[in-house]
């Protein structure tokens, strides 16, 4: 009996002790947190260098894009630190960069693998923010990931410069004050493609959609559907396919008997290479339905994918954000310095990531401080030129860049393994602009 009593006391003692231990060890943390709250996350203070975090897919369906993005980031850091030939820093207007880092602090970087999974991407971004002290996070290649990381950036008070993300949601219903996108989106792709499709394929077609089953696929399907239906096309069916499926044959067979004469592939990266290759192997492009030649459209296109898809991409229409064959000063300068560094031309993913890094650095220089709310105000409504897409504006209402969009076609007779796309049309910015309020969403407060 006596023993039992003792036991009870000791257990209570134990609970008490552990609670005290917990409370005591937690106390300093609250204080440090309070101390940080006064200025801002990862304030470099008087440190001689600043850290940027580059979070790209190094494994999975989008790893090719990720690898090229990382090359571009490394190049951008080099140029910011005044090494190399300066690249776009020679052509960007207006520009405040001095080639001595950012605000005189040397730029260093950390990298991470998003694995094209929201969880992994957020864990990686958190590591950059909490451990490595990253002041800005950039990257992407999947809109799902970009949206997830953008949300985290807002919570943490760290600016996120999105890389390749094409979903309307990134700067639409899921837009954030701390997230910025230079890349174009599905809505703009649709507006740019519309007139070309009308010209080449007429107004009487039946479209069949295969769509990657996540935010980007959904919004692209919706935007392209709106465009084609406005032309008078029918939508036969829209089918969602899992990301990274590898084998799409089970989705392609039903198309043969659906009565559709146009296949729209809302796929990207290795998924698009696989689905397009299989569609061609199944003989879709040799078919004639309702007296019309069967056509395939890939609304979002990149040179990296064209390299993967090879022969199959010849003659297929799509849009891109940028292409290395553009002849303006900015594009030429970027292709030159990227080529010198790595021996081949950059992809559009590389271009957007490079530009985003420079834009952030420039905004910090303009603001004269790393304090995010000030930097955000500099980026909002920022107008610039000489970065490869003509005159461009970061719209303040939704943090989306507006610039010319390219409609391209797979080249029939490529002269080299990089010369794969014909630019059909440079659609001017005015034609792809839309009202910022149509997608809803709220940016949220300046102070995180």
């Amino acid at each position: 009996m006596d023993n039992k009593n003792k036991n009870n006391i000791s257990r209570r003692d134990f609970v008490k002790t552990s609670a005290t231990v917990a409370a005591v060890s937690a106390v300093p943390m609250f204080f440090t947190k309070g101390a940080y709250a006064k200025d801002f996350t990862n304030n470099p203070g008087r440190a001689g260098s600043v850290t940027l975090g580059f979070n790209v897919p190094q494994t999975g369906s989008y790893s090719d894009e990720g690898a090229d993005e990382l090359r571009a980031y490394k190049l951008a850091v080099k140029h910011l630190n005044g090494e190399g030939d300066g690249g776009l820093m020679n052509t960007m207007k207006p520009m405040n960069l001095k080639g001595n880092g950012i605000l005189g602090k040397k730029v260093t970087y950390v990298t991470g693998d998003t694995q094209t999974k929201s969880d992994a991407a957020r864990a990686s971004a958190k590591r950059m923010i909490e451990k490595d002290g990253a002041l800005m996070i950039s990257g992407g290649s999947s809109s799902g990931v970009a949206i997830a990381v953008q949300g985290l950036a807002q919570e943490a008070g760290v600016i996120f410069m999105a890389g390749l993300t094409h979903s309307n949601d990134t700067t639409g219903k899921d837009k954030r004050r701390y997230g910025f996108r230079h890349f174009f989106n599905a809505k703009m792709s649709g507006s740019a493609l519309g007139p070309v499709l009308k010209e080449e394929m007429g107004t009487d077609r039946n479209a069949y959609h295969l769509t990657a089953d996540y935010t980007w696929g959904w919004t692209q399907e919706q935007s392209i559907k709106e465009t084609t239906e406005a032309l008078g096309w029918n939508t036969t069916a829209t089918v969602k396919t899992p990301v990274g499926a590898g084998d799409f044959s089970q989705f392609i067979t039903p198309i043969l008997n659906s009565g559709a004469d146009t296949l729209i592939l809302n796929h990207y990266g290795k998924d698009m290479i696989n689905s397009l290759t299989q569609a061609v192997q199944f003989g879709l492009r040799d078919k004639a339905v309702n007296g019309k030649q069967f056509e395939i459209i890939v609304p979002l296109y990149s040179r990296l994918m064209a390299q993967g898809a090879g022969e199959n991409l010849k003659g297929i229409l799509g849009t891109t954000n940028w292409d290395w064959q553009l002849q303006d000063e900015g594009s030429k300068a970027f292709v030159k310095s990227f080529g010198q560094e790595y021996g081949f031309p950059p992809s559009m993913a590389a271009h957007t990531c490079y530009v985003q890094t420079l834009l952030y650095a420039n905004a910090v220089e303009n603001a004269g401080t790393f304090y995010p709310p000030e930097v955000i105000r500099q980026l909002e409504g920022f107008k610039f030129d000489g970065m490869g897409n003509g005159a461009t504006e970061y719209r303040a209402e939704d943090h989306q860049c507006f610039k010319d969009v390219l409609v391209v076609r797979g080249k029939q007779n490529p002269s080299s393994q990089f010369d794969l796309l014909d630019i059909v049309k440079e659609v001017p910015r005015s034609q792809v602009e839309y009202d910022a309020s149509i997608f809803g969403g709220e940016l949220g407060p300046y102070k995180a």
Partner: protein, 376 residues
């Protein structure tokens, strides 16, 4: 005798609490002291402790425990969306709902044992993953993952105050659940979970589970109906996993379908085996090693390696970087695979067995020395 046992339990718990709560201090030198990773250690610790109650004690190898992680996460995020940002209701609901799902999955799967049980749980895992990924998209938001928005109703919070400007963050009566305070919350949960697991290990119930592992037939012959014990073990471990899933959402209010992929279930099996199946501390060791490799090793890139080997002459530095590079960065899986093979081949009982062997050797030499001294 009983008193001694309790006393032992108390010391164990005190030492364990001290180790867990001081993690920010002793993990600092190896670069693992930042809130996100510390939270992961604690959360996956709970997951592995719970898994060990099923796999370690009864020997039933489940490949479906990621289901409960997922259910816990989705429940918690929905609780944040619909009810309140306070974590208590979220965690309570997570544990409850994952318990209910565990009853259903366990009831069916436990009709078979051995490899058939494993395959059944694997099938369930795949089924739930696909449900979350595509079929139940309105509830789970599919591949994109479930996130908070400013437009969520949050009825309980709305009763007390108006909606703020930005996204609210999870809290425990005003204490933010991100950063270090989030870690301490998870750590306290881990200590509670460990205490429960200790109780189970030392209880008659735990003994019966161990009996099932050693010989279920013999146990049945003695008149025990093993099914209820198995089901309770399954549900308890499912609820631990649900708690872990809920905590994931607490520290980072987002739930994605990939949490339920079968690889996530496989990961906890790896953790348990790496550390030591059926031991109290083994699974925790496994968690620490795997999460450390995943987060720290995977972030090492060429530039980091060059600074690491800075002290070497240039040609040696270059070749060292070339040699080490495949094992870090994207190649961290390779390192994990090598460690795993080494452990399984040389220490089938996990790393804990390694410690045991070392301890035995040292105590033996001590005894021999004592004997020697006595002889002189």
């Amino acid at each position: 005798m009983l008193f001694e046992k309790k006393q032992n339990e108390l010391t164990t718990m005190l030492i364990f609490s001290a180790i867990v709560l001081s993690m920010p201090i002793w993990l600092d030198p190896i670069g693992a002291n930042y809130p996100d990773l510390l939270q992961k250690f604690a959360i996956f610790g709970i997951f592995a402790i719970g898994y060990n109650i099923l796999f370690g004690l009864t020997g039933y190898l489940s490949f479906g425990h990621a289901i409960f992680i997922g259910v816990g996460s989705y429940t918690a995020v929905w609780s944040f969306k619909l009810l309140t940002m306070n974590v208590i209701p979220a965690l309570a609901l997570s544990v409850l709902l994952s318990g209910v799902v565990a009853v259903m999955v366990g009831y069916v799967s436990l009709r078979r044992s051995g490899i058939y049980f494993s395959i059944l749980t694997l099938a369930f895992a795949q089924m739930f993953y696909n449900l979350a990924y595509s079929v139940l998209t309105p509830i789970t938001n599919g591949e994109t993952g479930l996130q908070l928005t400013t437009k969520d109703p949050r009825v309980i919070d709305r009763m007390f105050e108006a909606a703020g400007d930005g996204l609210p963050s999870t809290e425990l009566f005003g204490i933010s659940m991100s950063g270090y305070s989030g870690f301490y919350f998870c750590a306290v949960m881990l200590i509670v979970a460990f205490f429960l697991s200790l109780k189970v290990f030392n209880s008659p119930f735990g003994l019966k589970l161990k009996a099932i592992k050693s010989n279920q037939h013999r146990m049945k012959y003695t008149g025990y109906n093993t099914r209820p014990y198995l089901l309770s073990a399954f549900v308890i471990s499912g609820m631990f996993a649900g708690l872990a899933g809920g905590l994931m959402a607490v520290t980072d209010p987002l739930a994605g379908a990939e949490r339920m992929q079968w690889t996530a279930s496989g990961e906890v099996v790896l953790m348990t085996i790496l550390g030591g199946v059926g031991t109290l501390y083994g699974p925790l060791l496994g968690v620490a090693i795997i999460k450390y490799l995943e987060n720290i090793f995977s972030s090492i890139n060429e530039a980091v390696l060059y600074t690491l080997f800075d002290f070497l002459p240039v040609w040696l530095q270059d070749s060292m970087v070339v040699i080490v590079m495949p094992f870090v960065g994207e190649g961290w899986h390779l390192t994990l695979g090598l460690i795993f093979m080494t452990v399984v081949i040389f220490l089938p009982g996990g790393i804990i067995e390694g410690f045991q062997k070392m301890k035995d050797r040292f105590s033996k030499t001590n005894e021999q020395e004592k004997l020697k001294q006595g002889g002189e």
